[in-house]
Symmetry: C2
């Protein structure tokens, strides 16, 4: 299995990959590649090449057509959990095929993320995309308020779900079966709350912004588990064959 | 919402709950309950009571009939991942309704767990069962070899699945839809591999022991994510309404 590396569009010039110093160091010292050895380069936007290591960087040998991406761009709007929980969410949901993660500052969010956090989160997304052999690196958006996120979502006529604990609403799986049965929409949004759950104001806002309330089952999930479960269900509903 | 506490059967005598010293300390100092305050006690085997704190311990007020349990006992056979990954698996899959976790020592398992680990794992299962408001505490079995686990499973005529990466076999979701459509079996086993995947010998053993090979989608999941996804799908297939 070849090592996978994510590069930016600016690093690609004709059939040459301009490796960053740290990337070259990593390939030679850690992955232990020598000149003429092959590795895989992805640009994080769907393109993928087999590349040969040379004294001058990488040389593209061939374009690859592998595709492990879902045919739907799923945005998970995730109220930031305590501690490092969001890092686990990035890792797991990247493996499960998420397209974008929108961290939310909800009324009950305890964490106030620093700008360093965003950089760290994006690094984790790159690593997870490499490990799970994806062609796309999920975009980790800067954290915004629930109000702002829901207002923006309201403008999109796509399926939008918001997960509730202790709710008598049908299960997310029920809506996925219904909404994905005839054709797969291009986009979808799923919002999950933080430890204390959504406030009444947040719920009212979601409903006003055309979010469908859904259940994730009878048990009380942590803020970390809910988005992982939701993404598991979407990818399975689509790859179910 | 009332605080939930797991006690052993031996702590229950008629309508009195004999609290352990640490439990009483936790209830009074951390949860900040006073005498006459209520909390919920579960015995981890399906029974559940509303209990009043008294100077002598707990006094059962009434038996509760709430039920957040799945009607199927799912055993996850999980090849032990690196580091503390198994702790994340216990937390998430307990929330998702697992009945038993069987840690596996596979040919590619790097972790050699100490006996202390098992105690720690069981403590995490209790905490997660309390938090997710379950009536049952999942049983964390002592780690055994893949060979032993699959041989034991072979004696059970229940659905048994083994998850593979890079496989052309149908998705777990496909088999769940099929196998749960007419009636829900009493038990089910799902096995997931460690970082390096299963060895050829392990795969052959699984097939000889009547395990059905299944896929969990196109992307490569870590050893931590696979059992969480599998448990998400089982609980949703059953609670899907």
């Amino acid at each position: 299995m070849l090592y996978r590396l994510v590069v930016t569009q600016e690093q690609i010039e004709d059939n040459i990959i301009h490796l960053q110093k740290e990337q070259e160091h990593y390939l030679r010292r850690v992955v232990r590649l020598n000149n003429e050895d092959n590795f895989i380069v992805i640009n994080g936007q769907g393109s993928c090449w087999k590349v040969k290591l040379t004294p001058h960087g990488g040389e593209i040998i061939e374009s690859l057509t592998e595709n492990r991406e879902l045919p739907i761009a799923v945005t998970l709007m995730v109220a930031l959990p305590k501690g490092n929980g969001f890092e686990d969410i990035i890792r797991c949901t990247t493996e499960l095929g998420v397209n974008q993660l929108q961290p939310l500052i909800s009324d009950r969010t305890l964490l106030k993320p620093s700008t360093n956090k965003l950089q760290r989160w994006r690094k984790i997304a790159i690593e997870s995309a490499e490990q799970s052999e994806r062609q796309i690196v999920p975009y980790i958006a800067p954290p915004i308020s629930v109000n702002e996120a829901f207002t923006t979502a309201n403008k999109l006529t796509i399926p939008k779900y918001i997960a509730f604990a202790r709710s008598s609403t049908p299960h997310l799986q029920y809506f996925l079966t219904k909404d994905l049965s005839s054709s797969v929409p291009a986009q979808m949004i799923i919002a999950t709350g933080c430890e204390g759950g959504w406030t009444t104001k947040e719920v009212e806002k979601a409903i006003a912004c055309q979010f469908q309330e859904v259940s994730l089952g009878k048990r009380i999930l942590r803020a970390v588990t809910a988005p992982i479960m939701a993404m598991s269900l979407v990818s399975s509903a689509i790859e179910n064959n």
